[in-house]
């Protein structure tokens, strides 16, 4: 988690527009990298700093919407602000549904763009923090022994030690031992804390409500 200045990636096939956007974003102190096509963007070395993508919907070759889809598939989570010279509602709905931050129609008010970019950066920041937390939790979970993981799963499901012992065919005392170990390893102070962690961490299927 660095404190680098966020970078804004501008993808627009129109040189004037690229320059204007870069000018505007720079004027509020943002780092800007410009690309004339989706391909160029995909194949570029991008800075790891937080930021967002200002993307023209209509591009030669891969369109803006195509790029959005590609990124989602590659699990690249970068917020997108769409700009278009002539957007239609259908297109904007598609874009927003697919997770776009904003959909702006050219010419737009500079503040609108800047707000959208700001929002996107915030979202990116938040998501990056969340991702960092998750990485820690995942690391901790990985450090559990298989038995401890089994016990944790059942603890989180709300089973009593005795029940867990019964299910796993071990003594209650052993359960207790594992339980203590895992609470420690996971950095959970209480059962509630452990449940919170597990909800962040565990895939949906193992998060099924105990019933």
């Amino acid at each position: 988690m660095s404190e680098e200045r966020p970078t804004i990636f501008v993808v627009d096939d129109d040189a004037s527009m690229r320059e204007a956007l870069k000018n505007l974003l720079r004027s509020v102190g943002l780092e800007v990298q410009t690309f004339s096509s989706a391909q160029e963007f995909l194949s570029s070395e991008r800075s790891k700093a937080a930021g967002c993508l200002v993307l023209d919907v209509r591009l030669p070759g891969l369109s803006g919407l195509d790029l959005q889809r590609e990124l989602a598939q590659a699990n690249v989570q970068i917020p997108i602000v769409f700009i278009t010279a002539h957007g239609d509602i259908q297109m904007s709905v598609r874009a927003i549904k697919a997770g776009a931050v904003e959909f702006l129609t050219k010419p737009f008010r500079d503040q609108d763009l800047l707000d959208a970019v700001r929002q996107a950066i915030d979202r990116d920041r938040a998501s990056r923090v969340q991702q960092a937390e998750m990485a820690v939790l995942r690391e901790r979970y990985e450090s559990l022994s298989p038995r401890e993981q089994e016990v944790m799963t059942r603890v989180v499901r709300g089973l009593l030690n005795k029940q867990i012992a019964g299910e796993l065919g071990i003594s209650e005392a052993t359960v207790k031992m594992h339980r203590g170990q895992l609470m420690h390893k996971m950095g959970a102070g209480s059962l509630a804390g452990l449940i919170e962690i597990s909800q962040k961490l565990l895939p949906a299927k193992s998060r099924r409500a105990p019933q």
Partner: protein, 1155 residues
């Protein structure tokens, strides 16, 4: 053992007897056949088999549902090699090759239908190792069997093979045809052709045949007829060498056949010939026979016939015998035809000899006439100057004259005779009072007979109706009979009578003379027959007089008979029918076309008078009492004789005489020079020069002259303007009507036959010159008129009421292309185009009513077939009684006027069209802009958005705590640039839309392409079309209108984009290509990856209102085409190898020196 015995009993019961078939049947273990063991057979089957085996007629039993075959001895030959396997075999296997034919015939009775019967079934079966043509009479009947499922156990076949009979009948028919139908052949070739035609109708016996006739020199054979194969193919060479000199292998060994005179059989035709004539069956013949065709000259063949042998028949003795008969029949036919041909040639040769003889006769007679004219003319002149003659000289001259006349009579008689012989006598029948005419004619002999002491009784009572006779001929009949009677009568008298006898008139000339002996009587009308030793006043005679009279009588449809007794006298009876029904109508009152051979009565009387002793003849002065006989005497018009006297003398006219005979020239000169100036020339050449030198008023020319003959002189005179109208009289010794007609046809004004008298010549010359004088006067007036007509620019034509062209001026020649000689006499409809054919009857109808047709505009056809617009005025021509007899028409060429009118119209249309096109182009451009509106909006929006953004950025740079002036300035520069860009876009659009005049400028076509792409690229982007440009950098400049060309390219781009709409995302690709084309032109192509079009629509794409789009006017490509074509280019579409269509156009490079 017991079982065996039982079986034996059964066998004995039903398989006993039956000859060899019975034996075979007994030897078979039937239990292994579908019929099963014998003891299981139904009683019916057993009964049938014993019946069948015992029968002597070919019988066959098909038993059970498999139709298992059982047959008897008599049936075995029909099977051939199929025996004995056929026994117990299913018919389906046994007769597999004809099963498709047999099945329905067998099934019908077996399945309960009626028995089947066929009189003659033709089957192609294979029983001797080859497929064979066979014919059978068959009867298939059901065999009821209670034990069988359907109550029918099988089918009994009664079979009778009739192949031999059928084939033999057919061959007999062929031979009969050959014998009967070739009889009419008139030549060997025809005989062969007919024979070949007949043979080709019997392909089953003669699949093909070639008839070769051997040339007279025996070295080659020629194909004279072919059946079943075309002549001159590889299998049927037209010529075959027989001398064996030519090295290559002959297709047919005709030479061997000719040498050996015997037939040959050729096998394995398929190896010999690349293509064997196919014949009627599926397999072509494999062999052929070559049969000699004998001629009526021993050891010499007339030819060879090649006969293909049917692939479906065995070549046995019968077949060979048949071929022999065919060859024999052809030989007979050819021999007959040759005999006929030779007969005909002989007859023709004889007829030719006869013709030559007659011609010689005719020529000789004519030749006599020229010297006769030269003799008689001067003599006659001398005698006319009677007072200046010494008595003795006069007598001698009279002698010359008399004998000249006599010779003329003989020559005329000969001429008559040769005319009759050649069938060229043209009698002219006129109704006459025969009694009166005959009385008059006979009267001429009265003084002569009286001087000879004879009595002449003329008894001619009036006849009830006129008789139709040729006067000259009737005169000859009467005079000849009378002088004949006078010749043989020394005492008593001559009776001439004419009486009506029923519907005939009868002339009787009876004398009391020496008579004719009985045995001579039948011969006296024979040509050249003279009665030997007959006692008469003279021995003179040719023996053709009576024969000629008989011919003349026959020409009148009459008859002549004679009765005579020696020393008692002779009576001739001439009977001719009254009335005209028996005569050819066209000869009644017809014009006389032949030179007259008539002689005056005086000639006969003079001649007869010479037979009298001199004292009687001279003392009475008979000769001097009659006028000099000349052909003039026969002239019906006395005025002609008077011309000479009524002639006005001054001024003296000039006559040019051309004759190669100097005597003749002198004669002409003597006759004519006292009245006219006479120029003489010895041939046509000389005469023509003389005529040019000093223009004669008349030319008299002999036809037969060396160098240039009379016809040639005539032609030359007529070919020159100066001499064209000089009248020409042709003179010839040839008296024939053809010569005369020929002369007149070639434009002679008159025609004179030798001999002619001085008087006749003068009369003709005078009359002709008088005519010339009158004609000249008329011509003077007419000439002025004609000059007006001739010089007119308009075509002036006259025609009669049938539409036949009568006159034709130079204007008409100019307008229609026909010269006057080509046009005159032709129907005027030749000028009228077929589609206007109905105009002429309407015009003629109006003319007949006396109306005029004025300034009627129509179309006529020239000689060269082109059409011409004319304005026509037609007026009726009236004769002196005011009747409409024709029409004159004035036609004026109005093509030019029409053309100008048409041009004006076309110009107006063109201007309107151009305006419409310009308007249309503008509308289409507006539509294009409409289509591209989002794209264009994008192009404007883009810089505008940039301007706004940069301005905001600029403000921010300035509003910061420490205003960043550098960045602000930078922003302003960007604003200016983008603002300019926006206005440039607007400018271009405005230009694109506003434009309506065409401006040609030198252009880089790539710029135009780029500009168009600029307008369209937003549109393409939106449609997710990938755009690629492959523009050639080194293109020559083109000359054209930028906006129009942009419009075309934009149009193509929009079309391409629309064509790609149905294609899946990611597969829309548009390629813009420019490249060099054909040397110095450029080509622009717009290639899409769309749906393409139907190949059949590809040429219609550029047609107005044709569209493959669901919406759209179908104008875009049509306008594009007119723009490109106006630029001298071409636009077309081609389907890509892959998906899509490429539309491309070419433009010529701008010339080096733009004008």
């Amino acid at each position: 053992v017991a079982n065996e015995e039982v079986r034996d009993e059964h066998v004995e019961a039903c398989l006993s007897g039956g000859g060899s078939m019975g034996e075979i049947m007994r030897s078979i273990d039937w239990s292994k056949t579908p019929l099963g063991a014998v003891e299981t057979w139904s009683p019916t089957l057993r009964a049938m088999i014993s019946f069948l085996l015992a029968n002597r007629f070919p019988l066959l039993l098909w038993w059970g549902p498999d139709y298992t075959s059982i047959y008897n001895d008599a049936y075995r030959p029909i099977l051939g090699k199929k025996h004995p396997h056929a026994l117990g075999q299913s018919v389906r296997e046994c007769w597999s090759e004809i099963w498709h034919v047999l099945q329905p015939l067998i099934d019908t009775p077996f399945k309960g239908g009626p028995a089947t019967w066929m009189d003659d079934i033709s089957l192609e079966i294979n029983r001797h190792g080859y497929v064979e043509e066979t014919h059978f009479t068959i009867a298939y009947s059901p065999v009821p069997d209670e034990t069988a499922p359907r109550g029918i156990g099988g089918v009994l076949a009664t079979v009778h093979e009739i192949t031999e009979k059928i084939v033999a009948d057919r061959r007999v028919l062929l031979l009969r045809d050959l014998a009967s139908r070739t009889a009419e052949a008139k030549s060997a070739e025809e005989a062969c052709a007919i024979a070949a035609g007949i043979l080709s109708q019997y392909p089953k016996d003669v699949p093909f045949a070639l008839l070769y006739a051997i040339d007279a020199d025996r070295k080659r054979a020629r194909l004279a007829g072919a059946a079943g194969v075309l002549m001159g193919e590889a299998a049927s060479p037209m010529i075959v060498d027989l001398d064996g000199q030519s090295g290559h292998e002959q297709v047919w060994p005709l030479a061997d056949v000719v040498q050996q005179g015997a037939f040959q059989r050729i096998e394995n035709l398929s190896q010999r010939l690349a293509r064997v004539p196919p014949g009627p069956w599926s397999d072509p013949p494999d062999s052929a026979v070559l049969m000699p065709i004998r001629s009526n000259i021993s050891h010499q063949l007339a030819g060879v016939i090649v006969i293909g042998i049917s692939s479906r028949l065995c070549f046995n003795d019968a077949y060979q015998g048949f071929c022999d008969l065919v060859a024999g029949q052809v030989a007979t036919t050819i021999a007959n035809a040759r005999a006929y041909e030779e007969e005909r040639k002989r007859a023709e040769a004889l007829a030719e000899i006869d013709r030559a003889k007659t011609l010689f006769f005719s020529n000789v007679s004519h030749e006599f006439r020229t010297p006769l004219t030269l003799m008689l003319g001067p003599v006659e002149d001398m005698l006319n100057r009677a007072e200046s003659l010494h008595g003795g000289v006069r007598k001698e001259l009279e002698l010359v004259h008399r004998n000249g006349l006599r010779m003329q009579k003989l020559v005329n008689t000969l001429l008559d005779f040769s005319r009759i012989e050649a069938g060229r006598t043209h009698a002219v029948y006129t109704p006459v009072d025969l009694a009166e005419v005959t009385q008059e004619l006979a009267g001429n002999f009265r003084s002569l007979t009286e001087r000879a002491g004879l009595k002449l009784i003329v008894d001619c009572p009036p006849l009830p109706e006129p008789a139709y006779v040729d006067r000259e001929m009737w005169e000859k009949i009467v005079f000849n009979l009378l002088s004949n009677a006078f010749k043989f009568t020394f005492a008593g008298g001559i009776t001439v009578s004419v009486n009506a006898a029923g519907d005939h008139a009868e002339l009787v000339v009876a004398d009391t003379g020496t008579g004719i002996s009985e045995h001579e009587l039948p011969l006296i009308f024979e040509r050249f027959h003279r009665i030997e030793g007959a006692r008469g006043r003279t021995y003179e005679g040719t023996g053709i007089g009576l024969s000629l009279i008989q011919e003349l009588v026959w020409l009148h449809g009459g008859s002549i008979t004679v009765e005579s007794r020696l020393d008692e006298g002779t009576t001739f009876r001439v009977r001719i029918p009254l009335g005209a029904e028996h005569l050819p109508p066209d000869r009644i009152g017809a014009a006389r076309t032949l030179t007259s051979t008539a002689l005056s009565a005086a000639v006969y009387v003079e001649e007869a008078a010479r037979w009298l002793p001199d004292d009687i003849a001279s003392s009475r002065g008979v000769a001097s009492s009659s006028p000099w006989p000349t052909p003039d005497l026969l002239s019906p018009d006395p005025a002609a004789r008077e011309v000479r006297h009524s002639r006005t003398s001054p001024p003296r006219q000039r006559i040019l005489v051309a004759d190669d005979n100097s005597d003749m020239r002198d004669y002409f000169s003597r006759i004519l020079s006292d009245t006219y100036i006479v120029d003489l020339a010895a041939n046509g050449e000389e005469a023509f020069g003389a005529a040019l030198n000093s223009l004669p008023d008349l030319v008299v020319a002999d036809i037969m002259m060396p160098d240039a003959d009379g016809f040639e002189l005539l032609r030359r005179l007529r070919s020159q303007d100066a001499t064209r109208s000089v009248p020409v009289i042709l003179v010839s010794a040839r008296a024939g009507e053809e010569a005369r007609i020929e002369g007149l046809q070639r434009g002679a004004d008159d025609y004179l036959t030798k001999p002619f008298s001085a008087r006749e010549l003068r009369a003709r010359v005078d009359a002709r010159l008088e005519l010339v004088r009158v004609r000249k006067k008329v011509e003077g007036e007419r000439g002025r008129l004609a000059a007006i007509v001739e010089s007119s620019d308009d075509a002036i034509v006259s025609k009669d009421l049938n539409g036949v062209i009568l006159s034709w001026n130079a204007g008409a020649e100019r307008l229609f292309g026909y010269t006057a000689p080509e046009a005159i006499g032709q129907p005027v409809t030749m000028l009228i185009p077929t589609e206007r054919a109905d105009e002429e009857p309407v015009i003629l109808e109006r003319i007949r009513r006396g109306e005029r047709v004025e300034h009627y505009e129509t179309i006529r056809r020239r000689k060269d077939g082109t059409q011409v617009d004319i304005s026509l005025s037609v007026s009726p021509i009236l004769d002196e009684y005011g009747r409409v007899v024709g029409a004159s028409k004035i036609a004026r060429d109005i093509t030019e006027r029409k053309r100008i009118e048409q041009e004006r119209r076309e110009l107006a249309v063109a201007i309107a069209l151009r305006e419409t096109e310009a308007e249309l182009a503008r509308v289409t451009r507006a539509l294009t802009v409409g289509e591209l509106s989002t794209s264009i909006a994008h192009e404007v929006n883009q810089p505008l958005a940039a301007v706004v953004t940069n301005a905001e950025a600029g403000l921010r740079w300035l509003n910061g705590e420490t205003p960043n002036l550098r960045e602000a300035r930078e922003s302003l520069a960007l604003i200016v640039r983008d603002g300019n860009r926006a206005s440039e876009v607007i400018r271009r659009i405005r230009e694109f839309l506003k434009k309506d005049s065409v401006e040609a400028a030198q252009l880089d076509i790539n710029d135009v392409v780029r500009e168009a792409v600029f307008f369209a690229r937003g549109d393409l982007l939106k449609s997710q079309v990938t755009l690629r440009c492959e523009l050639c950098a080194e293109l020559p400049p083109v000359r054209g209108d930028r906006v129009q060309l942009e419009q075309v390219i934009l149009n193509l781009i929009i079309n391409a984009r629309e064509a790609m709409a149905p294609v899946a995302d990611g597969q829309r690709e548009l390629v813009m290509i420019s490249q060099k084309f054909a040397g110095d032109g450029v080509l622009v192509a717009v290639r899409d990856s769309g749906a393409g079009v139907n190949p059949q629509d590809i040429d219609r794409l550029f047609t107005a209102f044709f569209t493959t789009k669901s919406k759209g006017m179908g104008m875009g490509l049509s306008i594009s085409r007119s723009i490109i074509e106006a630029h001298g280019g071409r636009i077309w579409a081609v389907l890509n190898d892959g998906p899509g269509l490429t539309v491309q156009f070419t433009l010529p490079a701008a010339s080096q020196n733009p004008s």
